[in-house]
Structures are given as structure tokens and as C-alpha cells.
């Protein structure tokens, strides 16, 4: 047999170029094991498809029926030895080209499909906002942003700059679509038809991604910080999650309470963990303000000077808050400090007094170990009461009533009730490795206020 792969490839390409709409054509492979019939067509996106239809045995034994019903454009013979019925079919070829090849027809179809140019432009499904000044300004519109024009083939690459907003646990959907070209419908109203739908957990931000056409129907996206995976939902369901408008990102006010008592290593550990959390929260994409509240033990003796709860940063930027936190490591210490409690109740009172709705949803994270001073004599613990008679529980309730979330980065030995309350939404021990991203998610520092499934093109 003489190899005729190029002729087969050219024939397949010509036929693929020719078919539109519901048109299809068939090709056949005759081999030692029998015949394989392939039917090629294009789907609604113009992507070439190949399938093996079921052909009755009677058709394969009757040349008239075979050339009438199957009507192959050409036949590829991949073996000198054939079953008798195929010899009979070849003998009655009736002008249908027969190519003798070593390469199986399936591989050649695959190659031809890969090499075929796009008949329709490919677009990335994106959000656009109606620009200011127009009716419905700010409204979100799901649109297509062309990434591949018609006629391009595999290997074509294009760079796209997209902006991702915080969204829910399913992540951002990256869908390649085509548009239903109907002259009677304005382009913006033409339905988008999915070619490929993937999703990725992407932190809010702007990304330069590269889209590469691997073959018709398959686009590779490079440059995202997280891996893409097959989207498990349906196109219709994700399409209907489109919000009318982009809600302003919920401002968050992260309040870090840090206990300054204890040894230097422990304090550094608390500062490190809180700094990591602030940096993590800054990647949340939303508006973030950070406060730092430092507290130690009350001066329970006349000979010890009282050091009030300090607020080195309030509703400040994250970088400034981290700077102030670091400064706490150099604080002087009185060797006559009380060891059994810290003025946590007064720190909470300070927070409750300072909190304002305009700074955002409060997220209170406490890094410490000692219990608060009780507001009154406590014969169970015999801890000396707070000189201001502040009740930590009341203060925590007061803060909770403002919709606050509570996270605790406690010392491993801290067991008091207060840590259950202060760690209501997220709890970790500073001595252990802390999954800071997870901690941030549990406090709502990394989740969105609404589902924004598609990226934006600005």
C-alpha cells in the first residue's frame, strides 16, 4: 500500500470547510478487522465533530445499499487483507476515492479537526458594566469578549486582561462562547452558546491571561493564580446567577486585639499570626480597615503603674496596622505584673466604644491567652476583679450585636469560657501551624458579598 495521508487530510479539511448548518458527510475505513464508518458534522458552535453511526450488517453486504445509505466521501483502506464483503464493496466503488494508508482514519480525522480553522469567532463570557451617563448605568451585562476571530487555527494565542471580583465558593467561571448569529437580533442580545466552561478559585484582582486555541472546541487559558477545573454546574444555572448590579464590596473592619503579657517569644508569635492575617485580609479585594488594640494585665497593686488599653491604630490601612503591631514587641515590662489575668474585658470595652458602622463589618480577632478580669469577685477562679468593673460578656454581646465575627488565636493552654466566645467563628492556637487563608475565610475576610461568577473586562 502506498501512503496517502496527505490526500486524506486535504480531503477531510475540504469537506469540513464545506459543511455548514446541519450538513454532514461520511468517510469509511476498511481494515483487516472490518469496516468503520465515521460521520462528520459541525455542532451549533461550528466545532467539527465525528461520530460512528450504527450501520446495519445488511447495508455493509449490499454495495447498492452501502453507497446509497452511507454515501462515503472517500474510503481509506488500511490493510491489504480485507473481509470478503469489503472486497465486494470496493469492487463496486462507483467513483468514490479509495486511499490506501497505514494511519488509522480516526487519527486522521482527529488531526483534520484540530487543524480546521474556526468558522465562528470565539469569545470569553465576561461582565460589562453599563457606563455612567447611560440609562441603567452600572447595570451588569453578560457579554462576549472576542478572543479568536474566525479563520484562526490551533496554536493561535491572544492576551486578555480580566478583573475578577470576590465571589462565592464555586469560584470564577471562565467560559468560551460563540454567539448565535442572527441578523434579526442586535449583537448584544444574541444568545451566547458555551463552547467550554471551566472555573477557578481566583483571588480578587486583575490578571493578564493568555488564551490559546488548542483545537476547535478546546481553549487553554494561562496566567491565572489557581488551577482551572471543569465547571460542574450548567450554563443555564450560572447564566442566571448574574447579579443586576455589582454590589459595593462589603467594607470590613478587622480589629486585632493583642495581649502583650507573657514572654517575648509568645508575643512575637501573636504579632506574626496577626500580621499574616492582615496581609491575607488585604487580598480579599474588598475595602479593609484595620485596628490594633493592645492590652496587658491591670495594675492590681499600688506599687505598679496602671497601663491602659492602647489603641496604636484605629481603622487604619493594613500596612500601618502591621507596623504598629511590630512596635508592640519592644514594649517595656514590669516584673511585678499580675500573672493570672489580662485586661481583656477593658480591651473589648474599648473596641465596643470605638466601633462605628462606617468602618465596615467588624471582625474581632484576639491573640492572647489569659482570661479577662471578672467584673466582680469570683470565688471560683479568685482572679482579682477589673478595677473598672467591666463585664467582658456584656462587651462581647455589645460587639456581636453590631454583626461582628469573632476569631481567636489563643495560647495552647488557654481554656477559659471567654476563648469559646471570642473564637466563635474561627479558633486556632498560636503555638501550632495556623492555616491563615482558611482562618480568614471563616471570618468572612476572603468571601464576597454576592455571587459574581464571570470576570470583568474593563
Amino acid at each position: 500500500m502506498i501512503g496517502a495521508e496527505d490526500e486524506v487530510h486535504d480531503s477531510l479539511s475540504e469537506e469540513l470547510d464545506r459543511i455548514t448548518g446541519n450538513a454532514a458527510f461520511a468517510v469509511a475505513e476498511f481494515g483487516a478487522a472490518g469496516a468503520a464508518i465515521w460521520r462528520l458534522y459541525r455542532d451549533e458552535n461550528g466545532t467539527p465533530r465525528a461520530e460512528q453511526p450504527s450501520v446495519p450488517q445488511s447495508v455493509m453486504k449490499d454495495p447498492d445499499a452501502f453507497y446509497r445509505d452511507v454515501d462515503p466521501v472517500f474510503i481509506v483502506r488500511t490493510s491489504a487483507a480485507l473481509p470478503d464483503n469489503l472486497f465486494d464493496l470496493l469492487a463496486a466503488a462507483r467513483g468514490v476515492p479509495v486511499y490506501e494508508c497505514r494511519k488509522p482514519l480516526e487519527d486522521q480525522i482527529r488531526k483534520a479537526i484540530t487543524d480546521s480553522p474556526l468558522p465562528l469567532p470565539y469569545e470569553l463570557a465576561v461582565f460589562r458594566q453599563v457606563p455612567p451617563g447611560r440609562p441603567d448605568a452600572g447595570r451588569l451585562v453578560l457579554a462576549g469578549h472576542q478572543i479568536f476571530p474566525p479563520g484562526v487555527t490551533h496554536g493561535y494565542r491572544v492576551a486578555v486582561r480580566v478583573r475578577c471580583e470576590p465571589t462565592d465558593g464555586d469560584g470564577t467561571v471562565f467560559a468560551v462562547v460563540t454567539r448565535e448569529r442572527r441578523p434579526d437580533i442586535p449583537p448584544n442580545d444574541q444568545a451566547l452558546r458555551p463552547v467550554q466552561i471551566q472555573s477557578a478559585m481566583v483571588p480578587a484582582g486583575t490578571y493578564e491571561i493568555s488564551a490559546e486555541l488548542a483545537r476547535p472546541g478546546r481553549v487553554l487559558l494561562h496566567g491565572l493564580p489557581g488551577p482551572l477545573s471543569k465547571f460542574t454546574g450548567s450554563w443555564d444555572s450560572v447564566r442566571h446567577q448574574v447579579p443586576d448590579r455589582l454590589a459595593a464590596a462589603e467594607p470590613v473592619h478587622l480589629v486585632c486585639l493583642v495581649e502583650t503579657s507573657g514572654d517575648d517569644d509568645r508575643l512575637e508569635l501573636r504579632i506574626d499570626r496577626l500580621s499574616q492575617l492582615i496581609e491575607e485580609a488585604e487580598q480579599g479585594g474588598g475595602e479593609l480597615s484595620v485596628s490594633v488594640v493592645a492590652y496587658g494585665p491591670h495594675a492590681v497593686a499600688w506599687r505598679v503603674d496602671e497601663r491602659q488599653v492602647a489603641v496604636p491604630a484605629w481603622a487604619a490601612q493594613g500596612t500601618r496596622a502591621v507596623q504598629e503591631l511590630r512596635g508592640l514587641a519592644r514594649r517595656p515590662r514590669d516584673p511585678r505584673e499580675y500573672r493570672r489575668a489580662a485586661q481583656l474585658e477593658c480591651a473589648l470595652e474599648t473596641v465596643a466604644r470605638h466601633l462605628s458602622e462606617r468602618d465596615g463589618r467588624p471582625v474581632i480577632v484576639t491573640a492572647g491567652g489569659r482570661p479577662p478580669h471578672p467584673h466582680t469577685m469570683d470565688t471560683r477562679t479568685t482572679i482579682i476583679p477589673c478595677p473598672e468593673r467591666v463585664n467582658w460578656k456584656w462587651q462581647a454581646d455589645r460587639i456581636a450585636s453590631l454583626g461582628a465575627s469573632f476569631g481567636a488565636l489563643r495560647d495552647s493552654g488557654a481554656r477559659a469560657d471567654v476563648w469559646r466566645t471570642l473564637g466563635h467563628d474561627a479558633m486556632a492556637t498560636v503555638d501550632d501551624a495556623v492555616d491563615i487563608p482558611d482562618f480568614a475565610v471563616r471570618l468572612g475576610l476572603r468571601t464576597a458579598a454576592q455571587v459574581v461568577p464571570f470576570p470583568f473586562i474593563d
Binding site: 492590681v300 497593686a301 499600688w302 506599687r303 516584673p335 511585678r336 505584673e337 499580675y338 500573672r339 493570672r340 466582680t376 469577685m377 469570683d378 470565688t379 479568685t382 482579682i384 476583679p385 478595677p387 468593673r389
Partner: protein, 331 residues
């Protein structure tokens, strides 16, 4: 364990309406480690200063004087507790006062004169560890037993917090009493009871659990003339308070402590006092007692206990003077 000894009484000679009365009765001090014996001695100096009866304390012996100053400085200037004894330290302190006395000079005549009273306190401050049964054959223990047996009065320091946490008061007291009785039994006329006067001091009154127990039993009384507003437990209620606190003994043997004392001493020679050597905490802001914050002791990072505010001893002078008075009355 600490002991204070006061030697036998001596009468002075009348001199132009003034007399000097010297008393040297023996007073021993018993109590477990940490019961506050050394602190009690340190607080005695302060308590005498605050007492209106005008008692003073001093020492002729240089070593005793040095210890007196050291204890005083620790409590008042440093806010620290005097270091507890590890063996037996003996100090000679002198309690002094003046009192008016009337004496009959004939069938229808009498005259008054001011009498100077001096009581020599022979203080033997011994470690509470000497009360342990495994210390019985040690010289220090034997010395302690002899000094207690030879004294006329005993200050017994009962620490309810230690009893609550460890519950060993009965065991330690019983062993020591047996040794003392064995010594006394050699004397003719011994009838099975010890003749000492015993001032039982229920210590750490400022501790919240003890304060609250007294409050719940409605035993707190206030002196309207007390500027700081400190409460007290009247001596008549002190025994009942001790009984109630003994119920919380960790070992369950605490309730037997008063019974032990009242069985081996004459009950009419025992008096109970609710005491606190450092007294109640006084608010720095209001300068007054705060019923929600009573304890005048706190612990720092190193574990050391320190004093929070001024030292205002409660019932520290009273047991000592009661013993002195009882011994004087009974010769």
C-alpha cells in the same frame, strides 16, 4: 511552724507613782507551712502601731532587731512577704505599754499610778515542715516540742485555704500534740489535758472564699469609726466560721481540728480569732475597702506572692494581747 516564747512574769518596784511590770510568759506559735506565721510576726509591728492602746515593740538583741527591721521593711516598703523560716530562728522582742493602775493603800484609801508594762517575746520561728510526722526524730523537732511544751500560751494559725487545697491540718496538729503531751505527762499532776491558753487564728480573712463564706453566714460586722470601712468577724462567731470552713477540708479531716484542740486543751482556755496579717485591699482611688475586691495578695509571673496595697492587719494584736492578759490573770 513558728513559736514565740515569752518568759515568766516578774513584778517591778513602785517608784513615785510609777511602776514597771515585766512579764516573760512563753507563747508558742503553731501552724503549717504557708499558714502565715512569719508574716503574722512581721505584721505584729504594724498592727501595734495602728492599735490605739499604745503598745510598742523593740529589741535589745542585735540579731532579733535586724530580723524585726527586715520583716517590717519587706511588708511595708517592698510589698513582699518575709521569707519563711527553713529551720528554727529565735528572736527576743519586747512588747511595751503603759497602763493606769489603782492600788489600795489602806482600808479606805487607794492610789492610782501609771504602770509601764514590758512583755518579753521569745520568738522561735520554726519551719512548718517540722510538724510533719517524718521529722519526729530530728533535733529541731524535739527543740520545737520542748519550747511549745514549756510555753504558757499558743498561737495556732489555721489556714483554711491550705486545708481546702491539701487538708493536712489535722495530721500535723495531732502528731505534734502527741509529742507535747508525752513531754508534759512527765510532770506530776498532769490530767491528760494541756494547760496552755490557745488563741486560734483563722488566717487569710481577706481571701475571697473566706470573706464570702463569712458574708454568706452574716458574720460580717463593721465599725462605723473605721475610716477604710473594713469588716470584721466578731470573736464570738470565729469558732463557727472555722467549723464551717473546716467542712471544705480536702481530706475531710478538717472538722476534727477544733475537736482536737478542745479535747486536749481546756475549752475555756481557747479563743478563736479571724485574722489577716496583711489585711484587706484598699482601693487606691477611693482609699476604702471594696467588698468586691478584698484580697490584698497577688502573684506575679515568677510565682512570687506580693502585697497589693497598704498593710492593715486584722486581729493580729488581739490574739497576742489576749494571751498576755490570760497568762497574767492566771499567773
Amino acid at each position: 511552724m513558728a513559736t514565740t516564747g515569752m518568759g515568766s512574769a516578774k513584778a517591778g518596784v513602785p517608784d513615785d507613782g510609777k511602776r514597771t511590770y515585766r512579764s516573760e510568759p512563753g507563747i508558742a506559735m503553731l501552724g503549717a507551712t504557708g499558714a502565715g506565721k512569719t508574716t503574722f510576726l512581721g505584721a505584729l509591728q504594724i498592727a501595734l502601731l495602728q492599735d490605739e492602746r499604745g503598745w510598742t515593740i523593740w529589741s535589745k538583741d542585735p540579731a532579733s532587731r535586724r530580723e524585726m527591721i527586715k520583716m517590717n521593711t519587706a511588708l511595708t516598703s517592698e510589698g513582699e512577704f518575709p521569707l519563711p523560716s527553713t529551720g528554727i530562728d529565735t528572736f527576743d522582742w519586747i512588747l511595751g505599754s503603759r497602763r493606769e493602775r489603782t492600788e489600795r493603800t489602806g482600808r479606805l484609801r487607794s492610789r492610782s499610778f501609771e504602770e509601764s508594762v514590758q512583755v518579753t517575746l521569745k520568738l522561735t520561728d520554726a519551719s512548718g515542715e517540722l510538724a510533719r510526722s517524718d521529722q519526729m526524730d530530728l533535733d529541731d523537732r524535739r527543740q520545737l516540742v520542748e519550747q511549745v511544751a514549756g510555753s504558757q500560751g499558743i498561737l495556732y494559725m489555721f489556714d483554711p485555704i491550705r486545708e481546702f487545697n491539701r487538708g493536712d491540718a489535722y495530721d500535723k496538729l495531732f502528731g505534734l500534740l502527741m509529742d507535747i503531751i508525752a513531754t508534759e505527762a512527765e510532770h506530776p499532776g498532769f490530767d491528760g489535758r494541756l494547760g496552755h491558753h490557745v488563741a486560734v487564728c483563722v488566717t487569710k480573712f481577706d481571701e475571697p472564699r473566706i470573706y464570702k463564706t463569712a458574708e454568706s453566714l452574716r458574720m460580717l460586722v463593721w465599725d462605723s469609726h473605721d475610716a477604710a470601712g473594713f469588716p470584721r468577724v466578731h470573736d464570738s462567731d470565729a469558732r463557727d466560721l472555722m467549723h464551717r470552713l473546716c467542712r471544705l477540708s480536702r481530706s475531710g479531716t478538717g472538722q476534727a481540728v477544733p475537736q482536737l484542740l478542745e479535747r486536749y486543751f481546756y475549752p475555756d482556755r481557747i479563743k478563736y480569732f479571724v485574722t489577716s496579717s496583711v489585711g484587706f485591699m484598699v482601693s487606691e482611688r477611693t482609699q476604702r475597702f471594696d467588698p468586691q475586691d478584698t484580697e490584698n495578695v497577688y502573684r506575679i509571673e515568677s510565682g512570687e506572692a506580693l502585697i497589693r496595697g497598704p498593710v492593715n492587719p486584722i486581729n493580729v494584736v488581739e490574739p497576742v494581747l489576749w494571751l498576755v492578759e490570760q497568762m497574767a490573770l492566771n499567773g
